[in-house]
Every structure is written in C-alpha cells, then in structure tokens.
Subunit: 129 residues, 2 copies
DNA sequence: CTTATATATCGAGAAATGTCGATACGTTTC
DNA sequence: GAAACGTATCGACATTTCTCGATATATAAG
C-alpha cells in the first residue's frame, strides 16, 4: 500500500536502538489501529451528518418537536431541494426519523442520544474559551 | 437573500387559511432559527474534525495515552504530512493538545468530553442495528 | 557549523460535498 | 383523470476537503 511503511520500520528501529523492540512497538501500534479502524465507519457517517451548519440547525429545530419539510425550509430560509437533501443525509445517518402523513413528511429526532451528542459538543466548544 | 422567502410566506398563508396566523408561525420559526444558528459554528468545527476516518482513528488511539507524530503515522500507516495535517485540524478544533519535547510533538486528548462524544456516537450507531 | 532528525507548511491534483433549479413522484381535491 | 400541492431525486456547477510529495523550520548531534 504505502511505500512509507518499510522505511518507517527502519527509522523507528534506529530511533529505539533495538530493532527487535522497534518491531514489537510497531506491531503493537498497528494492532491497536486495526481494532480501531474496523468499526469507525458508522461513527464517521454520524459525525459527517452533524458537520454542516444547516443540518445542525435542523437538529436543533427538531429539539422543539416534529416538523414537516415545508416548515423546516422556512425556518432555515433554504430552498426545498436543499432542505430535503439535508434531511435525507440526517435520516441516512440515523439521527432523525420520518413519519409520512398524506403528502406531508414529518421529521423528528431519532433518539435522545442525538441531543446528548450536541450537548457534549457545545460543552467542548465552551471549554475552549 | 433568498428570493424564496416571500413566496413561501404566501404559500403557508394559503396552507393555514389565515394569513395573520401564517405570518406569526413564520416569525416563530424564523426566531427559533436565529437563536439556533448564532452559535452553531464552533460545534460544526468540532463535528467536522470528527468526521474523517483517519482523525477518528487518531482520537481512538489517543485514548490509550500520549503519542508523538512518528508513532501516530505508523499506527495509521499514512505519510507524515498527512498525519500532521490531521493533527492540526484536531488541535484547531480543541479536541487534542500538544506537548513539545525537544524535536518531538506529543499529542493527547484535550478533555474527557472527547471520549464521551465518541461514546455517544457509538451508542447511536448501535441503536441503528 | 554541518548534518540528521522530527514536524509543519505549501501547493497541486483528485475526490467528496453543498447548492439549487428542473423535473419526477405520490397524494389529495375537484 | 386533471390540476394542485408537498416532497424526493437529478444534474451541473462551485466550493471544500483529502492526500501526498516537496520544501521549510526547528532542534539535536557530531
């Protein structure tokens, strides 16, 4: 994959002095990484969904209850197609749920954990100041 | 800004029947949105930082302690410049902290809240299945 | 002070994402 | 069944983001 790999092994070996220990250390790091990367994709999807001002605003709006697309597009002041697109991303990430009533599509938060996520982020953004 | 605005007011008015009530409803939605969008930017930055497999892997690695760039790049099997770039984004979002020792830069999680964030996301991704 | 090492920054190309008008789909109403 | 309405999807363009080699900076070592 990456031609960097082999060179790095030697580098670290020199760094540590003992090549055997370097090899072990690299193995340990790699196995840590393997475990980590295996189930990261779903979480990335969730964070990607959260990482847009428009979508975050939608989620915060939905903390106030259930809204249909036409209400959400007014609140955000965005065209219908844009609003619908963002909603589908949020739904796809499992952050919101849809409830169809006639020609209306109503959306609500999928779970309280979504609110918790946003609260944690806000807490972190506070800490920085 | 958006030429959509005025049209929508009239649409909703027709929808509700009473134009006065429509106008009120729109005002309510808009003021909700205003409050919401005001402080969303910092949170977006945090979620953006979290929404990349490489960076999420770094954060998970850092749950095991403090690591320098050369260790992280080995764990992730990515070039140094890529690794460094991701680290600067994470640092910029306030998720990790740097500690320089000689020519080494060591990174660690900035706060326990970062772990909490990831746990919440994992919880949500579980719920979907 | 020259060299080696660790990391940061730059710059360019590739890929992903956001935006929005146009159009398609499904439901209701007449 | 035709027209109106709410919503989803498409397609094209603009912007952002990711990646990585090349280069710059800073510290240490000889």
């Amino acid at each position: 994959m990456h031609e960097l790999t082999d060179g790095s092994v030697e580098k670290l070996a020199r760094l540590i002095g003992d090549e055997e220990r370097a090899r072990l250390k690299i193995q340990r790091l790699r196995s840590l990484a393997d475990v980590i990367e295996s189930d990261v994709q779903d979480e990335v999807k969730i964070f990607k969904a959260l990482s847009d001002p428009c979508r975050l605003a939608i989620l915060k709006l939905l903390q106030n209850g259930e809204f249909c697309v036409c209400e959400i597009m007014i609140a955000l002041d965005r065209p219908q197609s844009t609003t619908s697109h963002h909603l589908s991303i949020l739904k796809d990430a499992g952050l919101i749920k849809e409830r169809k009533v006639g020609k209306w599509s109503n959306y609500r938060l999928a779970d309280g954990a979504v609110i918790e996520l946003m609260n944690q982020a806000r807490l972190l953004s506070m800490l920085q100041k």
